[in-house]
Symmetry: C2
Subunit: 336 residues, 2 copies
């Protein structure tokens, strides 16, 4: 039974709360800190994206098509569907002689409200381009095209692309392929599930890939980490925790959200990997927990804490603009 | 620690889940069935609305202004902000020589997507009229006007209206006034919190009000129950559980949702009251639990179950329209 991590109050009492689990591992895979059941299986969802493009980088496809570091960040991102994201995805697809019609991620209305409203006013329907995973799917298509693999069933779990991603997932998450749970993601891509401990391990391996003794893998990891920390707007977008965390900390901390209450982090200066999962899957509490955890691990400066505090403990404001309570992460009581 | 009530699966494993508590009481206040901690304090939120208008009915204000049964349902409702709701609220306010400007509930975009899009396309901003509580606030204003009370600070907890509502809340929820937790609702109205057990008791008392030995109170309760079951579209709206539950069961079951994962029910044929609270406050799981509970209590016919099943156990469909898992209430194992 996982502990309460986030509480929402009203009238001075806790009205609702979110339970979850946390795992922090060091370079050797030793647990630095944990809360809750870290053997519980869940899906990293979009936090898997960083690893899903390692085959693309290693294969040479990425460089062959002349993609940029900014585009790598977008491939690894769960973007807001803002204009800047859509335009960049269109450009990537054009490089492949493809268009939005080749994406099989499904139409999603832009996460960012301004862009959602812009579409409605223009009498336009959201398309696959607006899907937060359209960058990832463009990367998938690039891999397939380069390797002369089918681009019409590129989401089939049996497709060589996903066999390759499974191999990489098994390597980074340190779990035999047969123990990975196969699911289908919101964007229809195959997704793998595993214990939370292994999700923390994978993010540690992302920044400590030398153990795999494979210069190509090390290079791919370094490029991914550099891309997402250099172009955090491509990883998420306006008013998003991933973007603000990586902007504010200037790449000292690598963070990636996943659907259903997932957050994964890598801390290069400590060589730590971190995984957070909110039991009930609500989006939001995982950022509050990440913020609290980073504070208690003393990984944020006072100034950084201030800039990110809006993702941590905030007031609950009602329709009329009145404060009616607050939402806060509980103190995690980390013994440093 | 409350039990898991709803599970969401992906790839054959439970990816996220919702805990909560349930309480069913009979006419004597005896517990027929319960799960979890029914002493846990929470706010009934909009499930308090039925009781918030008892003073309006008893005072004679409701009839003095010539309001209809349909309007009573709207006052007791948490509406979608559909055109039919807005027009009716405007009409009620006009009866009082008021307009949307007198409402202090705050602007809320219509819950119903079609109406939300209609507003955007018309270049209109949502107003207080669209707030799901605008019917309730119109009832508040009617009470104040009739009783020559201030209509400018009608949301002040010290206002006579809310002192009267507190008295009624104390009576129906069977808890001394000083034990009611005062909070502020999403619409800025005062709201009272109490144990889940008492929330079940109140809904039992709604259909068994004779114990209060007050013909005016009995009459008010009967009118409220008749209004909401006769005009369920006013209580919620298109594609809403409250509306569909009361339409499908033709008034045999009275149900009202509340924000933050609340559901309250009254079962006239059994003289039972029921309260459900989802720990994490997510909206949706409480309907799944209500549906499962009503099934296990054998209160729905096969045909009714079928018509309401979409609120119970359903597939999780991703952006591309593929089934990627399901969401279901667990079996509650009620021993009849």
């Amino acid at each position: 039974m996982n502990p309460i991590l986030v509480e929402n109050t009203r009238g001075g009492v806790v009205e609702s709360f979110h339970r979850g689990s946390i795992c922090v591992v060091d370079k050797q895979g030793k647990i630095v800190f944990s809360l809750g059941n870290i053997s519980q299986i869940s899906f990293p969802r979009s936090a898997l994206k960083f690893f899903q493009h390692i085959p693309l980088l290693i294969s040479g496809a990425f460089d062959k098509f002349g993609f940029t570091e900014e585009e790598l960040a977008l491939m690894c991102g769960s973007h807001n569907g803002e204009l800047m994201h859509i335009e960049q995805v269109k450009k990537m697809l054009a490089t492949l002689d493809f268009s939005g019609d080749n994406l099989q991620c499904g139409a999603q209305q832009p996460t960012h409200k301004k862009d959602f409203i812009r579409l409605i006013k223009a009498n336009e329907e959201p398309t696959s381009l607006h899907n937060n995973c359209s960058g990832k799917h463009s990367g998938f298509l690039a891999y397939c095209k380069f390797n002369n693999l089918s681009t019409t069933d590129y989401l089939n779990p049996e497709h060589l692309l996903h066999q390759e991603i499974k191999r990489i997932t098994s390597l980074f998450y340190e779990l035999p392929e047969e123990e990975l749970v196969l699911g289908v993601d919101g964007c229809s891509a195959p997704i793998f599930g595993m214990p939370l401990y292994n999700q923390a391990i994978a993010y540690k391996n992302l920044i400590c890939p030398e153990k795999f003794n494979n210069p190509e893998i090390t290079k791919a990891c370094n490029r991914i980490v550099k891309a997402v920390t250099t172009y955090p707007m491509m990883v998420a977008g306006t008013k998003r925790y991933c973007t603000d965390l990586m902007s504010v900390t200037k790449g000292r901390i690598v963070g990636k959200t996943g659907a259903d209450g997932v957050y994964s982090l890598a801390i290069p200066e400590k060589e730590w990997g971190i995984a957070i999962k909110i039991d009930d899957g609500k989006m939001g509490p995982q950022y509050q927990v990440a913020h609290q955890l980073l504070k208690e691990l003393e990984l944020l400066s006072t100034n950084e804490i201030e800039q990110l505090e809006k993702y941590g403990n905030t007031s609950i404001i009602n329709f009329a603009g009145n404060e009616v309570g607050d939402t806060h992460s509980v103190v995690l009581n980390i013994k440093n």
